[in-house]
């Protein structure tokens, strides 16, 4: 049962959810020789993954208040650059202090980054302005960190491409309408194929719930609950690349405190509130206005830039509803739930939480749990295997 390539066809894992986590998990399991089917109701990454601003996180944003997440981010940041070469705008980032309060945050920020292993470089205002001429000329300090930009769809697509070429069956436009549950055991799912309009079943030894903010909906089909709080935020895309580096506000997490360059656009984000249904998200006008207002404090040209799009994306945050009205209080880390342990339901695992940057790490953790359940001894190889280019997903 040790496998570094050859299949163990008696083990079949069904992954529900085609976001970054599902893709990375399909890749990890496929490398270990497990047969994987992944079903996604829409296009791959059409849930939350595709919609984020594309930050390749250095973790610095969490270095003070959520160090567990910060460490996860900086480790995965380095791994992703290695396994996905050519997939990132690797221009680093700046944390810019504009007010006296920001300056108060500086010391704790630097200390937190050092504790988490995030390299920093303090820059004086004129040095920062030479790197980024559009910055607020009244900035007081800037700290360079190893942020980057990812293409939120195409980077995860490399995981899907590699898994697919490794033998995984990747099925977009296939929607789970119910799980197959008997005697507290999940043995697969009933799916509707939106390509043919027909229904069918997919049976598996382990079914994985990787649906992000929709985790609870799928979990309920198995009769269990997961403490996921869908927490949307608004993002604003403006025409023109106003900065080449990622520009962050040097303060504790708040609205509109990041500007991520992406191609010839600048994405300003984000805000935070909580909802029950991640399918029905508005784009509150006052949040959009806040993006302009806060973004302009970092780069004044944000105010005059031409609008491209404003949209919402729901983060899957771990933690329950009470005591977390905005979602910012919840942890950004990720967790795997083996429902045999948490709920006495066999054959069902949920992986959720996390950030776009930590997809590979989340998948490794989850795959370890799944392989332990299946008795597959192979270890994860995803830290080292260089992924196929995203175009390989579409190749024969």
């Amino acid at each position: 049962m040790t496998a570094s390539g050859p299949r163990t066809p008696e083990h079949h894992v069904l992954i529900v959810g085609g976001g970054g986590t599902g893709g990375a998990l399909a890749h990890d399991l496929t490398l270990r020789g497990v047969h994987v089917t992944l079903v996604e109701r829409g296009e791959l990454t059409s849930g939350t993954t595709g919609r984020h601003h594309g930050l390749l996180h250095s973790g610095a944003r969490y270095a003070v208040h959520d160090q567990e997440s910060a460490v996860e981010c900086i480790e995965e940041n380095a791994i992703l650059r290695r396994i996905c070469p050519g997939s990132f705008e690797e221009n680093d980032g700046l944390f810019v202090g504009v007010t006296d309060e920001d300056m108060d945050y500086l010391e704790g920020f630097l200390k937190g980054c050092a504790e988490c292993g995030i390299p920093t470089q303090v820059l004086k205002p004129d040095e920062a302005l030479r790197l980024e001429p559009n910055l607020n000329p009244d900035l007081k300090v800037a700290v360079r960190v190893p942020d980057g930009t990812m293409d939120a769809m195409r980077m995860p697509l490399r995981f899907f491409a590699t898994a697919k070429h490794g033998g995984a069956d990747i099925r977009p436009y296939t929607e789970v309408t119910d799980l197959i549950v008997h005697d507290r055991t999940v043995s697969g799912a009933v799916v509707r194929d939106h390509v043919t309009g027909t229904e069918g079943e997919v049976r598996a030894d382990v079914t994985v719930n990787a649906t992000g903010p929709w985790s609870e909906r799928i979990a309920r089909m198995a009769g269990v609950d997961v403490p996921i709080q869908p927490s949307p935020g608004v993002l604003l895309a403006l025409r023109g690349r106003l900065c080449n580096m990622v520009v962050n506000r040097l303060h504790k997490s708040g609205d509109g405190d990041i500007i991520v360059p992406q191609r010839a656009l600048s994405v300003v984000g984000t805000s935070s509130w909580t909802v029950d249904d991640p399918d029905d998200l508005d784009v509150p006008e006052d949040h959009v206005q806040r993006m302009y207002d806060e973004g302009a404090k970092l780069i004044p040209a944000v105010r005059r830039a031409e609008f491209r799009a404003a949209w919402s994306a729901a983060r899957p945050l771990i933690g329950s509803r009470e005591g977390a009205p905005t979602g910012r209080e919840l942890s950004r880390t990720f967790k795997t739930y083996d429902h045999r342990e948490t709920d006495g339901v066999e054959g069902f695992v949920t992986i959720t939480g996390g950030k776009g940057t930590t997809l590979r790490g989340m998948a490794e953790l989850c795959a370890n749990v799944i392989c332990a359940k299946l008795g597959v001894e192979a270890e994860s190889r995803t830290r080292d295997v260089v992924l196929l280019p995203h175009t390989a997903y579409y190749a024969a």
Binding site: P9, H12, T37, D169, T174, D193, V195, T196, G200, E201
Partner: protein
């Protein structure tokens, strides 16, 4: 145990293609709906090209009347000076000017000499062509 998710073969097969066009496939270039300037220029170029080829054969046919004899030719000349015919001559002039000037535009753009100026060249050609057509039409219809 490992029955695949449904619909595998259906996905592998090539699906139907949507094509623009008002008829069968090769007419795609002729569909005017939602098209921009460059496509119109291209479509009119093809139509005038076909028209000019048709005219060429017509012209040869007409010239062959000379072989038939003087009276056949004179009959033709009478026809050739009627208003309708003169208007068709103007139309022919339009076709020649359009096809020629647009041809220069396509040559300049299409050989990469001025790759990014197709609209400007079109309007320049329109100005020159309109003046030439006006001048020509005046002479054809007004008589010199």
């Amino acid at each position: 145990m490992n029955a695949p998710a449904p619909g595998r073969e259906a996905r592998e097969a090539r699906g139907p293609l949507r094509r623009k066009g008002i008829g069968p496939s090769p007419s795609g270039w002729l569909d005017p709906r939602g098209r921009a300037l460059g496509s119109w220029a291209f479509a009119v170029n093809r139509v005038t090209g076909l028209g000019l080829v048709f005219y060429l054969y017509l012209h040869l046919g007409v010239l062959s009347l000379l072989l038939v004899g003087e009276s056949a030719w004179n009959d033709f000349l009478e026809l050739a000076t009627t208003t309708v015919f003169l208007l068709l001559d103007v139309l022919l002039l339009f076709g020649l000017l359009y096809h020629g000037l647009n041809g220069i535009r396509v040559a300049l753009v299409g050989s990469g000499v001025v790759p990014n100026r197709q609209r400007a060249l079109f309007w320049a050609g329109t100005v020159i062509g309109t003046l030439a057509l006006a001048y020509g039409a005046l002479h054809i219809l007004g008589g010199t």
